[in-house]
Amino acid sequence: MTHLTTPLGEEVLSLNAGERVTLSGTVYTARDEAHSRMQEQGIPFDPYGAVIYHCGPIVEEGRIVAAGPTTSARMDNLSAFLLNAGVRAFIGKGGMGRGVVVALRGRGVYFAYTGGAAALAASRMRLNGEHFSDLGMAEAVWVIELDRLPLVVGIDAHGGDLFHAVQERARENFAAIFPVQGGRTP
């Protein structure tokens, strides 16, 4: 299994969708509100080779208690500026839209982390800072040191999109099991 450490560089360009990796180093949490704020007021950390984690953790007394991923697709239209600034990877769940797949080409990757696996994630994390604390616990940017978080490459830097491929195949399977009788497949 490939082991990656931040800041990420060109090594991410050769990863393939479906490949398992572990990631160590610094990641920055950001959800909807933090993305909007960064787009308007600038990025409060060095974005070069940085990794953004789509996550709203439970934090208690300077400690991460639970930190699973949130649905990444909500950030579809708020992500290009981060790649333009040098961000190399996103971590989240559920994949991202075609626009992001295109924007990642030749520049970066999207990692999937297991939805709901919040206790495991927290056990591999150390809290190292906070930006935009006025946005509240779930929406603030938390600076987190990771120790070998297990991930899957969901979208690679050459157009490979595992989520899209799986969903297309599921549609075909559904159509084969339930042939259309004047209806439609969803």
Binding site: G56, P57, G68, G116, P186
Partner: protein, 279 residues
Amino acid sequence: MRSDEPGSRLYTAITEATARALREAAINLPADVVTLIQAAFSRESSPAARGELENILENVRVARENGVPLCQDTGVPVIYVTLPPDHPYNAALFDAVAEGVRQATREVPLRPNIVSPLTRENTGDNTGLGMPLVHTRPGERFTITVLPKGAGSENVSRVVMLLPSQRGDISRVVSETVLIAGGRPCPPVIIGVGIGGTFDGAAALAKEALLEPIDTMDPFERGICATVNKLGIGPMGLGGDTTALAVKVKIAGCHTASLPVAVNIQCWAGRRATVEVVL
């Protein structure tokens, strides 16, 4: 002081039992669910899917060991109370249960998830107008059962009003619901199906089906489960052999002109716990 007022032994016992059930559910995944995830891991052929199931099992272990919630979405509390024949049914029961929800929210802690549907203002304590939902039913013992329900899987659930002639389409409706949901409900999922009753009754049945142990399925349930797993959506929508761990069906009588079918999707974290109220 009346026996059912705040501070009374009965009231406190109900509050304590509710809080204890919520803590248990948030932290410890039921054994039947863990067993089925382990079985799915053993037979999974996709490496990416195996990795996801391995993460889930490791997460279950870490949560138990550290006494922390399995998932940061600790859900909305759905509560089922069984009342024994000699129980003096009283409206204070609902207040005592709500107090248990507040207590668990502070002490576990649970993420405060309940907001006003229109202003989106958070109440901060997981209670609100009409919340928690408390269902009562007759039983042998006085028990509180909690089903904390996460939003990712609840958001992709459906009620479909079929025609009486469409009995053969039930498996299609379930599979279609899972297909539309894709990776969003955090598969492998557990599927509660309510058939019959009314529009609202079918939805309640589908959720009650999620209370059933999932380590056994009847032939009808097994058939639907096998069909869903042919879709290949897999753990987290990354592809794989197991999209659904189990299907559980509950039925009720319905109008001769109706066939309500509800599909309530539950993420892999099939959290539920029952605590007896001891006086």
